[in-house]
Symmetry: C2
Subunit: 359 residues, 2 copies
Amino acid sequence: MGKQAATIVDVARAAGVSPSTVSHALSGKREISLPVKERIFKKIRELDYRPSFYAQAMKRNSTGMIGVVVNECRNPSASLFLDTLAAELEKYSYKIVIGLAGLDHRKGEELLRHFSAGLVDGVINLLPQITPEEAQILCGSTPVVTNIREKLIPVRLDYDQLTRNILNYLWDLGHRRIGYITSPSRDPHRPDGEATRQIMTEFLKSHGEELDPRMIAEGDDSIEGGIAGTEQIMRLGNITAIFAGNDQTAFGIYRWAYLNGVRIPDDISVIGFDDVPQAATLIPPMTTVRFPVQELVTHTVKLLIAKLRQETLPPGQITLDMPLVIRHSVADRKRISAGRRKKALPSGKKNKTIPSIIL
Amino acid sequence: MGKQAATIVDVARAAGVSPSTVSHALSGKREISLPVKERIFKKIRELDYRPSFYAQAMKRNSTGMIGVVVNECRNPSASLFLDTLAAELEKYSYKIVIGLAGLDHRKGEELLRHFSAGLVDGVINLLPQITPEEAQILCGSTPVVTNIREKLIPVRLDYDQLTRNILNYLWDLGHRRIGYITSPSRDPHRPDGEATRQIMTEFLKSHGEELDPRMIAEGDDSIEGGIAGTEQIMRLGNITAIFAGNDQTAFGIYRWAYLNGVRIPDDISVIGFDDVPQAATLIPPMTTVRFPVQELVTHTVKLLIAKLRQETLPPGQITLDMPLVIRHSVADRKRISAGRRKKALPSGKKNKTIPSIIL
DNA sequence: CTCATCAATCAAAACGTTTTGAAAAATAAG
DNA sequence: CTTATTTTTCAAAACGTTTTGATTGATGAG
């Protein structure tokens, strides 16, 4: 049972040497004679000695770990991000430690505090409800990078333009009444809430229409949120397309559609956001925006590593594309209204409204 | 920038008291006079002092954290499990720390070693490729629970009976040529590989048929694996149903079906395993086995906590149900072959072949 | 034979806490 | 005004490492 773990002192005693000799044998920082070395390693194996992680960390003042805090990982967007982060951090031989904060705001703060009390060398904050400033305060002197999906310093993600492009794309296909389900966020630059409202207003005005604010529903990146949002929007009547701030939310649209006997894309068109692997498995396969996970993760990690090493990154921003992956959840209303009740897929037809990938 | 974090000694000096007094003020284990206490807390705030996690862990010889190691979390089954674990562990005020091992066997072992060198108080191993015995060796004296989904000690999950039930269910609906895509596992009691082969063989023999071993394809719990497995099985011809060891795999079946113009359930019936939230959002909503995540997690954590406290659990096993959640991805072939090309859903009709939930 | 050189090992300090027994100061009892 | 008691604070040890300067004994040069 609870056998006490052996310490370096136990090993030293067993091998008849001093603890420092064992340490040196292990680290190879000083010459140790062969016979002694063998004796030591034999005892290490016998006693199943493993250096205490925290004792080491305390001496070195470093743990070789990066902490990532996130609300939950049940959302495929989140879990994909985490997997990618883990792989990227491994390249720098950092281990990743994930903290799950749940939906509770308090727990997230506590977790950041906890992590940055020396538990990890650096922190990546994925909680949207905590601003970069707050995160830095919570983390004290531990380097932290936040706001990954919004405005990571060396990266430019033009959500506003994306929203315009999507609107344009749908408009060109004959959609006039378009709904949107937000993703929770504080930053005004994510295509949600205020920003989207403004852009949609402008867009519609330039086409001589007016925005009904109820066409924008508040989502929470969950399937249930997606269902509820769809319900709210569809009640408005004559809606022909909905786009969502998150694929998980968009799955909710599919669910609502099935539950209400509404066909995709014949009756309602759907556009998601993230392009999680499951998006392609839906029937019809979902048209969605591809979020550049890998690139963003690469830059996130680069930035964090630079902070850790107290280096400064070469200035300059790189703009990452967010192309629309065109599958089959968006209908061409013009063809439909022209009487031909064919599943009208914009296949082949290269469009100019938005950078896209046709699958 | 890299301002050194303040230590308890800094605080003590600043407040003109000894470090132990600060410690006591913080822990409340001894009475400290009000004015001194106030002085101390003022300085703590000023210096943004936070107790070093390791130093504390080292003294207490405990970290208050449980380590969970898993291959990846992109699979919804895995991420759901993790979220549930986190919530459950929180009830015991343990924090969860997730280690992502990727697909590399070596990294998994390393991670277990690393965790159990004092980084965490206990370990939950979710890597299927590591046996309970191996895990215990890797973890040394750190308590570890493994093999969660297969045979967690206090829990009985009858995969063999489940397989028989599913076979029966499909057979009753007129399915004769049934494929299966495995989930990777070492344990012979999971409904995959050998176990399933044997049960299918028996089942078919008792119905006067013989099993074509190619009807069992090897999956890896990925969408791609599901697509490939489906391809292999469908090539055999005349297949009317496939069931998968994992919902993610089953998503692959949907994908293959769409890509090949095969309709679900009219042409091919699909049954998944786990009942992840996304399963209901597919069109048609997927029939799948509900895995009792919450219950299993509850017992897993109970077992681990018992080990941590060096208590022994009251003996006895509890059997957890794995009901079939009947949605709309399985067709009634009898009605179909009777000429009526109606989407034949076994709705309402209570069947006796398998415990089920009809949605 | 003496002194310098080198290899191998050790002892002690340090990392930042908590804990405990003891000291000092304040209060109460006689 | 002692003495006992209580309250408040301190000093030192301990946790398990790593690091560094010192010590020992052996080896080689002169």
